[in-house]
């Protein structure tokens, strides 16, 4: 394509990206953990079926949870070893979920960093989709939607464009940035495969304009892929979200309540693209993921590649530990993620970051009275009015909140970020959505 920057006209806010922390750090291997905790359900949809038992010996890459009918995904063992137990553990969002606990066999060593592209194999579209399903690939940018379902749109919804999203807009995180710099070829290969699986004509990788090094790598690598392209977009938050990307790059608007495929587009994260390339070319299911450990509350920020299920404690220890006891631990991004109550929570397929905030960085909510300053309205990228919706939610007028397009909220948190009254708007919006779900069930 070109080095022209495309801008989204939708609302957005400037968040300092904290580039100085993680952007220039190479991805490193974390020493292997002794025990991994693999939550059975790491995706959106129905949980899979556990096909192993306590005491079984499993090998790295062996399927331990099989997908069910409908929207569901597989899970594979991330280390070789014996299954210690299958029980409930904290899920990182304040709830509990079932997990398979594996004790690593000391003799099993394996190599995780292999960024070169090798033995490209030609496969048909069906074969590619089958491999993706068998490899347990889900949206690894955080959404967690099973990729094989995403890549099988109904016949009446032709897809013309595949977008590979490398514009993680969360501050602190450098996972996509580093992947674009270090696994550039694999991303292009993944895009090629996804394009083929869906039968789309166009495909491009999107990168934010402030990731200069990644753009250079993409520009150089794109010479080898005449059919594929890259596109630079502005770096306001949350313009890395798929609705904003589609608007900026293609000027298409998804009708309310529909998916991107309604306008002929499928968006995948760069991690997903890499996973597809590795699954097809190297028969490697999703067993590792790249995590940014960042923030001013951690001694040595790092970008790590870790086996799934590693407790975050091991990552934190490897990064030198917390600066102070009062540091605040967050799983996922600082905008959309959850505060961790315990360091036993494992890394999941969608867990792109562990952020340790110093006390000074952390925003305490005060819930003061709304002064109707409209900052949240101006910040909202989907043009809804967070101040009014949350008023309705807090007073239990769910219908009114829904009429104001509560469902369109992408839970980006921009509204709460800018609110001068310290109102926890995103919490309330999530609360409203949860209540709507409960009522509908």
């Amino acid at each position: 394509m070109s080095d022209e920057i495309k801008f989204s006209s939708m609302g957005g806010i400037e968040i300092p990206p904290r580039e100085e922390l993680n952007t220039d750090l190479q991805i490193e291997e974390l020493p292997l953990p002794e025990v991994v905790y693999l939550p059975v359900k790491q995706h959106i949809g129905r949980p899979g079926k556990i096909i192993v038992n306590k005491g079984d010996y499993v090998k790295r890459g062996q399927c331990i949870v099989e997908e069910q009918e409908g929207v569901s995904a597989r899970l594979h063992a991330s280390v070789s070893g014996e299954i210690l137990d299958i029980k409930e553990i904290p899920d990182g969002m304040g709830g509990k979920s079932e997990a398979i606990i594996i004790k690593r066999d000391q003799n099993s060593e394996f190599k995780r960093i292999d960024f070169s592209l090798k033995n490209k194999k030609e496969k048909s579209a069906e074969e590619i989709r089958e491999i993706i399903k068998n490899s347990g690939i889900i949206g690894m940018g955080g959404a967690g939607f099973p990729t094989h379902i995403k890549l099988s749109p109904p016949a009446d919804k032709p897809i013309d464009t595949i977008i590979i999203n490398g514009s993680e807009s969360e501050p602190y995180i450098a996972v996509d940035d580093r992947t674009m710099q270090e696994k550039t070829a694999k991303i292009f290969r993944g895009l090629e495969l996804i394009k083929k699986a869906v039968g789309a004509e166009n495909g491009f990788i999107v990168c934010e304009e402030n990731k200069k090094n990644a753009i250079k790598k993409l520009a150089a690598e794109s010479q080898n892929w005449p059919e594929l392209n890259y596109q630079i977009v502005d770096s306001l938050y949350p313009h890395g979200a798929e609705k904003m990307l589609i608007e900026a790059c293609l000027n298409r608007e998804i009708p309310e309540g529909e998916l991107p495929m309604e306008v002929g587009v499928i968006v995948n994260n760069v991690q997903t693209a890499v996973a597809v390339a590795e699954a097809v070319d190297e028969q490697q299911p999703v067993v590792d993921r790249i995590v940014s450990v960042s923030g001013y509350g951690i001694k040595n920020p790092k970008n790590l590649i870790v086996p799934l299920g590693t407790p975050i404690k091991e990552l934190i220890d490897y990064c030198g530990g917390l600066v102070s006891k009062k540091s605040i631990l967050i799983i996922g991004g600082t905008m959309t993620g959850f505060r961790a109550e315990s360091t036993k929570i494992p890394v999941s397929k969608t867990g792109f970051g562990i952020i340790v905030l110093s006390e000074a960085e952390y925003k305490e909510y005060e819930s003061r009275v709304c002064i109707r300053c409209a900052k949240c309205v101006d910040a909202c990228p989907v043009y809804i009015t967070p101040n009014r919706i949350t008023d309705f939610i807090n007073n239990d007028y769910l219908e009114e909140a829904e009429a104001l397009s509560l469902a369109s909220c992408i839970e980006c948190g921009s509204c709460a970020y800018v609110c001068p009254a310290g109102r926890p708007l995103l919490r309330w919006l999530r609360e409203g959505k949860a209540r709507v779900r409960k009522r509908n069930n």
Partner: protein, 334 residues
């Protein structure tokens, strides 16, 4: 899910206090201009009202000087009276502003009417004699404001008599008028600061001024005079933009500003009060929640509804313009 653990975990360092004290900062140029044009007594009036307002809030908030909102109210009130007012006049207004218009409605965030304007309206009506003659800058002879002159003899000669220097005087504030209203230049400097800091949005002032220009032109009043004489600049950038009492929805803000502007000119033209801006904004304040509801605008993904609605609105606007022009010309002819 435990939502107590949900993010965002970072935020801007913006607070209500910061917002309000920035508005105070933005009013400083106008206060300085007032000191230059009207002497230090004007400055005393502005700040005594501000401090008194903040004190009045103490029983309710147990804080002094509090979040700054009362201070802003007091400053605005002090700026909207004649420079030769007795010192107690704005204090009476402040009492009404803070106690009745603000705290009795539930305090900051819950008041329906702009407190400063509510207070001003009360003293404007109760002590009308103090508002009949406005001291001119530099201790010149007290006189009617250019607006009131227009009302007195409809030949409306201020600009044609004074030419370009008249326009400059209007703009810089060298004309009779309320303490803080006269210097458009100083007010605009403050407004530019607020805009740069993101505390005001272009929609309300933009629509306000545009509506003033259009309505004035339709009524045959010189738009420049309408804008720079009287409280339009102060009203458009500092009063109508008051966060609590203006709509939050984007399109609502446009309609709100336009309503304020049109009403200002209409009130000035058809009534004997010089307080067009005050009553226009207070009237629109009462509609602000309604406008939030009616003109929320369209959400992402509603483009089909949006297209249809824009067609209807466009057709309505064109029809309205044709009707107005038609009646205007038929009046001219008759």
């Amino acid at each position: 899910m435990n939502l107590k653990l949900s993010g965002p975990h970072i935020g801007t360092d913006d607070t209500i206090e910061k917002t309000m004290w920035n508005v105070v900062l933005a009013l400083i140029p106008a206060a300085a201009a007032a000191a230059v044009f009207f002497g230090y007594y004007a400055l005393f009036l502005i700040f005594s009202t501000a401090v008194f307002s903040a004190l009045l809030e103490y029983p309710f908030t147990k804080k002094f000087p509090g979040d700054g909102s009362a201070f802003v109210t007091g400053m605005l009130l002090g700026m909207s009276i004649p420079a030769d007012s007795p010192f107690w006049l704005p204090l009476v207004g402040a009492f009404f502003s803070i106690i009745v218009a603000k705290q009795l409605f539930g305090g900051l965030g819950n008041n329906i009417f702009n407190p400063a304007l509510a207070g001003r309206a009360v003293i404007r009506i109760s002590f009308a004699s103090h508002f009949s003659s406005w001291p001119a800058p530099f201790d010149a002879v007290a006189g009617a404001t250019p607006l009131a002159q227009r009302a007195a003899d409809s030949s409306y000669t201020y600009l044609s008599e004074n030419g370009l220097s008249g326009l400059w005087n209007l703009f810089s504030g060298n004309i009779p008028g309320a303490i803080g209203e006269t210097s458009a230049l100083a007010l605009l400097i403050g407004a530019a600061f607020l805009y740069y800091k993101g505390y005001i949005d272009w929609r309300i002032p933009g629509a306000f001024i545009t509506a003033v220009i259009i309505t004035s032109a339709l009524l045959g009043v010189n738009p420049a005079l309408s804008i720079f004489s009287g409280a339009v600049i102060l009203g458009a950038f500092f009063m109508a933009t008051d966060m609590v009492t203006s709509p939050a929805a984007k399109e609502g803000r446009l309609f709100f500003g336009a309503g304020c502007g049109a009403l200002t000119v209409l009130i000035r033209y058809f009534s004997s009060y010089s307080g067009g801006v005050t009553f226009a904004i207070l009237t629109m304040n009462s509609l602000s929640y309604l406008f939030d509801h009616l003109f929320e605008g369209f959400h992402y993904g509603q483009y089909q509804i949006r297209k249809i609605n824009y067609k209807i609105i466009g057709a309505a606007v064109i029809a309205a313009v044709i009707i107005v022009l038609f009646s205007y010309f038929s009046l001219l002819i008759s």
